[in-house]
Symmetry: C2
Subunit: 324 residues, 2 copies
């Protein structure tokens, strides 16, 4: 199977799925956000994982979709909390409708994710929902930590890595784990695939942090420098704060971090120059590679044919090399 | 078993339950809202229902609690949407913390409800979660309809009854159904108990509408006349609009419904006088009794001993006669 075939199957399934009819304000935003697109990375991971154990991966489509629906539910609610006006180039749900609609539609999306998970075979339901509950709670914990960090200036690298693990990586781990559970894999393989997802997920988020500063504006799809404008405590920012201590950059960086009014473009340019001077980017890339390597190490230990692992390796490469 | 014993067991279970530890902003609001109290009507219904089929009702405690956690999740999110400052005499979560905290804590509460439901025996999990999903989606639909009605002046009685069925009654139906499923009741009994809850639930909401106007301020616990102040399209208001057509009250009622500035006390007094003149209260009580009777009719058909039905009958009486 190629990645393309998985993605086509996922997009077809999304186009066929109905979440409910009436009232329209409740269900239309679900179709809207699901149709905005995205990489469909999470459901693809579930299908790849199921297929590794010779499982008829088409039977896992609805469960795979549950992960995508859950992910989009978190985006809908996070966008309210972050007051984000734009998502994938389109108005966010709370902007297009209003925050109440985004709260309530999001709630129904979370319920829909559970409904889709009920399509796994009966003997797997309890385990799947138990693991999903844990993952969902962790994703919420990650979002709360992310919000808490915004008003703190003493976030450590460890705390940051823990936050992105919760907010992003555990769901990638669950996506792979889910496919393996569905496909009746043994416990060791299930655990290894979870570790693959967890580590690729952290690498994936570090890549996101790098792209937010160094992405090609033509390809990135979001505003380059958005994290810098918002003083987000990304890995690069934390590293820059650490490396600048005692250097002339310390004062300069602090000036931008505490400025209440500023020209956004100038700030992005100045902070990026500080990053360049401190050589923060290669550090971030080293860190990112560490996590990708850790993920691939776990994959190596997995007892399935090299052939079956190939697509996941390619996918990891794509995540590492991507420009958007 | 007495109602008191059920309530004590429920409150003990609530005091023992932990939802998570860190970050505090995520989990503290859950403990806060669960500790605000309330009638604990829904979990009590689940336990009564389980006990009807000679089931060791203590084993159903965590599942019963799931219904209460879900109910409180809807209150947390509804209070944001309704901008309600006070809940059970205390600041609402979005007031005490902020709306973001209320969104995210609510999300985790919904996940916690699913986790508590997983305590039912394995063979019931799929059915229980499937029915819970349907109920949860309906409750969201009811809340959306309720919000939609605020800006409409052509809501029919039928539409209103459908809205309160979704927003309030289906969860009471599910609470009774859940106990019966857990206790391995036959499908006919499960369906009958659902109908009992559905009809008692509509009666319960009509009683709420009546209390909102005619409750004793000393006992009611909320501001009497709140629905009138907000122009809520309650059953009494819809009936008053209908009955006033072509009478002198029509203009008077319309004046208050369209007034943009008004003295709240005067409005409550004047609209209550219109209700009195049109004899809307006895109509509402007749309607309420109809639904309570329908619920008790369904209970009659249930094939369990009279003795076992007694507590549910008493509970229905209490709901009908209550003053708060």
């Amino acid at each position: 199977m190629s990645l393309q075939s998985y993605l086509e199957a996922i997009n077809l399934e999304i186009s066929k799925t109905t979440y409910g009819e009436s009232p329209e304000e409740l269900y239309e935003p679900i179709r809207y956000i699901m149709d905005l697109g995205g990489k469909r990375m999470r459901p693809a991971l579930t299908l790849m994982s199921a297929n590794m154990f010779l499982y008829n991966w088409q039977k896992a489509l609805k469960a795979a979709l549950a992960v995508e629906v859950f992910h989009n539910f978190t985006l809908m609610h996070d966008d309210i909390m972050d007051q984000a006006p734009i998502r994938r180039g389109q108005p966010t749900v709370h902007e297009k409708w209003n925050p109440n609609v985004a709260i309530l539609s999001g709630d129904v999306m979370l319920v829909s994710a559970y409904e889709l998970l009920l399509t796994v075979e009966d003997r797997h339901i309890k385990r799947v929902i138990k693991r999903f509950n844990k993952t969902a709670a962790e994703v919420c914990e990650g979002q709360q930590l992310d919000m808490n960090f915004a008003s703190r200036d003493d976030v450590s690298e460890e705390e940051y890595l823990e936050m992105i693990k919760l907010k992003t990586s555990v769901l990638l781990g669950f996506a792979l784990e889910l496919g393996a559970i569905i496909a009746d894999a043994d416990d060791e393989s299930i655990q290894l695939l979870y570790e693959v997802g967890l580590n690729l997920g952290i690498g994936f988020q570090l890549k996101d942090d790098i792209l937010d500063v160094y992405g090609d504006p033509e390809k990135f799809g979001k505003q380059v420098g958005g994290d810098i404008i918002e003083n987000k405590k990304t890995w690069l920012m934390l590293e820059a704060i650490k490396k600048s201590k005692g250097t002339p950059s310390e004062k300069e960086l602090n000036k931008w971090l505490t400025a209440t009014t500023f020209d956004a473009k100038k700030k992005v340019k100045a902070v990026t120059e500080i990053y360049d001077k401190l050589e923060v980017r290669p550090d971030a890339e080293t860190k990112m590679n560490e996590f990708f390597d850790k993920g691939l190490e776990a994959l190596k230990k997995l007892k399935v044919s090299e052939d079956k692992k190939q697509i996941l390796k390619q996918f990891a490469d794509y995540l590492m090399e991507r420009e958007s």
